[in-house]
C-alpha cells in the first residue's frame, strides 16, 4: 500500500480524535496546572483536602474490593462455563445479557432490592429476622454491590475467553498424572489463566473508578465517588478547576493501572 493511500485512510480518525478528544482535553486540563504560572498547587490542594481525599480513597477502596470479589466469584464461574459443552453458549448468553443491559436499569434493580421498603427488607421483616428495616441503600455497601453487579459479567466473559485457550487435554493430562479436580484447578488452570485474570481485573478496576450511574443512583449525595464528584463540581457548583483536577486524576489512575498491569501480564504469560 502506498504511503499516500495509507495516510488518506487513517487521516479522518486521527483528525477527529485530535480535534475532539485531545485538543479539548488539553484545553480543559491545562488550567489545572497553572496558578499564575506553571504549578502543581491545585493538585497539592486536592490531595490535602480531607473531603477530596475521603472521596478518592472511597473510590479506590470500592474499586479494589469490587475487583477482588469479581475475581473470587468470576474465576470458578468462568471455569465452570468453559468446561461445559451443550450449556456453554446459554451460560455465556446469560453472562453477556447483564453486560448489554443499561447500567441505569441494573442500578435500579438494586434500588428495588436494597431500599427501605425493598425486597430484601420485606423478606427479612416477614421472616422476623429484623424488626426495623435496615439502611442498605445510599451507603458504601450499596455502591459496592452495584459495582460488583455491574462488572462481574465482564470478568466472567473475559476469563472464559482466556480459559478457552487452555486445551482440555492439558487438564486431562494433569488428572491422569494423579491430580484431583481441585489440584488440577490450582496447579494448572489457575496459573494458565493468570494473564486473563489480570486483564479482567484491569477492566473491572478501571471501570469501577470511572463508573458514574451506579454511584450516582446507589450512593446518593453523601457517598460521593470521583465520577459523581466531578459532575457535581462542574454542573452544580460550576467549579471548573476542581472538575479538571479530578478529571486528570482519573485519567492518570486509569493509564497507570493499565500500564502496570500490562507489565505484570507480560511477565505472567509464560506460554
Amino acid at each position: 500500500m502506498k504511503r499516500s493511500v495509507f495516510l488518506l485512510l487513517i487521516a479522518p480518525g486521527i483528525l477527529l480524535l485530535t480535534i475532539f478528544l485531545f485538543y479539548p482535553l488539553v484545553v480543559t486540563l491545562a488550567p489545572t496546572f497553572s496558578n499564575n504560572g506553571p504549578s502543581l498547587a491545585r493538585y497539592l490542594a486536592f490531595f490535602s483536602d480531607s473531603y477530596y481525599l475521603a472521596v478518592f480513597f472511597r473510590t479506590v477502596w470500592i474499586a479494589v474490593v469490587a475487583t477482588l470479589v469479581c475475581m473470587i466469584l468470576g474465576v470458578p464461574t468462568a471455569y465452570f462455563i468453559s468446561r461445559r459443552r451443550r450449556s456453554k453458549s446459554f451460560l455465556m448468553a446469560l453472562s453477556i445479557f447483564p453486560l448489554l443491559t443499561n447500567p441505569v436499569v441494573r442500578a435500579f434493580a438494586w434500588i428495588n432490592i436494597l431500599g427501605r421498603n425493598g425486597v430484601l427488607n420485606s423478606l427479612l421483616l416477614s421472616w422476623g429476622w429484623i424488626t426495623t428495616p435496615l439502611t442498605l441503600l445510599y451507603t458504601d455497601f450499596s455502591i459496592l454491590i452495584g459495582t460488583i453487579y455491574l462488572f462481574l459479567p465482564l470478568m466472567i466473559v473475559t476469563l472464559v475467553g482466556s480459559m478457552d485457550t487452555i486445551e482440555e487435554e492439558v487438564t486431562e493430562a494433569a488428572e491422569s498424572l494423579g491430580a484431583s479436580r481441585l489440584v488440577t484447578f490450582f496447579k494448572v488452570v489457575l496459573p494458565l489463566s493468570l494473564p486473563g485474570i489480570v486483564v479482567g481485573s484491569v477492566l473491572v478496576f478501571t471501570g469501577a473508578i470511572t463508573a458514574y450511574s451506579t454511584p450516582n443512583l446507589l450512593g446518593g449525595n453523601k457517598n460521593m465517588l470521583l465520577a459523581t464528584l466531578i459532575y457535581q463540581r462542574a454542573m452544580s457548583l460550576a467549579d471548573w478547576t476542581s472538575a479538571g483536577v479530578i478529571a486528570f486524576v482519573m485519567i492518570v489512575m486509569t493509564v497507570v493501572t493499565v500500564m502496570v498491569m500490562q507489565k505484570v501480564s507480560r511477565r505472567l504469560d509464560r506460554r
Binding site: 451460560l91 448489554l100 434500588i111 470511572t210 454542573m235 493509564v255
Partner: protein, 260 residues
C-alpha cells in the same frame, strides 16, 4: 462431563446473583400499586401504556436510537478504513497508531463528557446533538478498531490479491472481496458499538441540553425524583430490545463473537 459439586454451587449462586435482580424488575413492571412493590399485587399493563404515552420518554428513546445509529455509522466509516490500513501495512509506527485509535478507552467517559462540554458546548456553542454525536463517536471508535481489526487479522489477504490479478481495481476489490469476508466482524462491531452508545451515561450526562436528553439520562433523572413502576416498564422494554439483539447475533454470528 462429570460434575464437581463445589464448582457447580458457586456457579449457581453467581447466576442467581446476576439474574434475580433483573427478574424482580420484570415482575414489578406488572404491579398495580403506584409505588414499586415485590411481590406484586394484581396484574396490569398500565405502566407500559403510560410509558409509551409519555412524550419525554418517547422522544428520548428516539434520540438515543438516532444517536447510537449515527455514532456507530460514523465510527464504522472512520474505523474500517483505518483498521484496513493498519493491517495491510507493517510500518514501525503502526502499534502506536493503533494505540492512538484505542485511546478513548483510556479516558474515563465522564472525563470525555466533561472535556467536550467545556469545549463544544461552552466555547463553540455547538448544537446539542452534534456534541452528543461526537462524544458517542469517541466511545464507539475503539470497538470498531478492535473488533474489525481482529477479523482483518484472520483475513487471508491473498484472496484480495487474486481479485486484483483477475482485473479488479483496488477500491472495488476492497468492496467486493474484503468487506464481505470481514462482514461478521463488522456486524459484531456494529452491535457492540450501538449497544454501548445506546446505554451510555457518563458522556451523555454533560452533553444533553434543555429538551434534548437520551433515554438513559432521562431514566436516571426520573429515578432520582420519583419511584413508580413505569421505570420497571421501561427497563423491561430495554431488556426486550437487548434480548432481540442477542438473538440476532446468536443466529448470525454466535454469541461468542460479542465476547472477544
Amino acid at each position: 462431563m462429570r460434575k464437581s459439586v463445589g464448582l457447580t454451587l458457586i456457579a449457581v449462586v453467581v447466576f442467581l446473583f446476576l439474574t434475580v435482580p433483573l427478574i424482580i424488575i420484570t415482575a414489578t413492571a406488572f404491579g398495580e400499586a403506584s409505588t414499586i412493590r415485590f411481590p406484586i399485587q394484581g396484574f396490569t399493563l398500565k405502566w407500559f401504556t403510560a410509558t409509551f404515552a409519555s412524550r419525554s420518554f418517547m422522544s428520548s428513546l428516539g434520540l438515543s436510537f438516532a444517536l447510537a445509529s449515527y455514532a456507530t455509522l460514523l465510527a464504522l466509516l472512520v474505523g474500517i478504513p483505518a483498521s484496513y490500513a493498519l493491517s495491510k501495512t507493517t510500518f514501525r509506527t503502526n502499534p502506536r497508531l493503533r494505540a492512538f485509535f484505542l485511546s478513548p478507552t483510556f479516558v474515563p467517559g465522564i472525563v470525555v463528557g466533561y472535556a467536550l462540554f467545556q469545549f463544544l458546548v461552552i466555547q463553540w456553542r455547538m448544537p446539542v446533538f452534534a456534541g452528543l454525536l461526537l462524544g458517542h463517536f469517541l466511545v464507539s471508535l475503539p470497538y470498531v478498531i478492535r473488533v474489525v481489526g481482529a477479523s482483518l487479522e484472520q483475513f487471508d489477504f491473498s484472496i484480495e490479491e487474486v481479485a486484483w490479478s483477475l482485473g479488479c481495481n483496488k477500491p472495488k476489490a476492497f468492496l467486493k472481496v474484503v468487506l464481505p469476508n470481514i462482514g461478521s466482524g463488522i456486524v459484531a462491531a456494529f452491535m457492540l458499538s450501538f449497544i454501548n452508545s445506546f446505554n451510555n451515561i457518563p458522556v451523555s450526562m454533560f452533553l444533553t441540553g434543555p429538551g434534548v436528553s437520551t433515554l438513559p439520562t432521562t431514566l436516571m433523572n426520573y429515578i432520582e425524583y420519583s419511584y413508580d413502576p413505569s421505570v420497571s416498564a421501561i427497563s423491561v422494554v430495554l431488556m426486550g430490545v437487548t434480548v432481540v439483539l442477542m438473538v440476532i447475533v446468536e443466529r448470525t454470528l454466535g454469541i461468542g463473537s460479542l465476547a472477544k
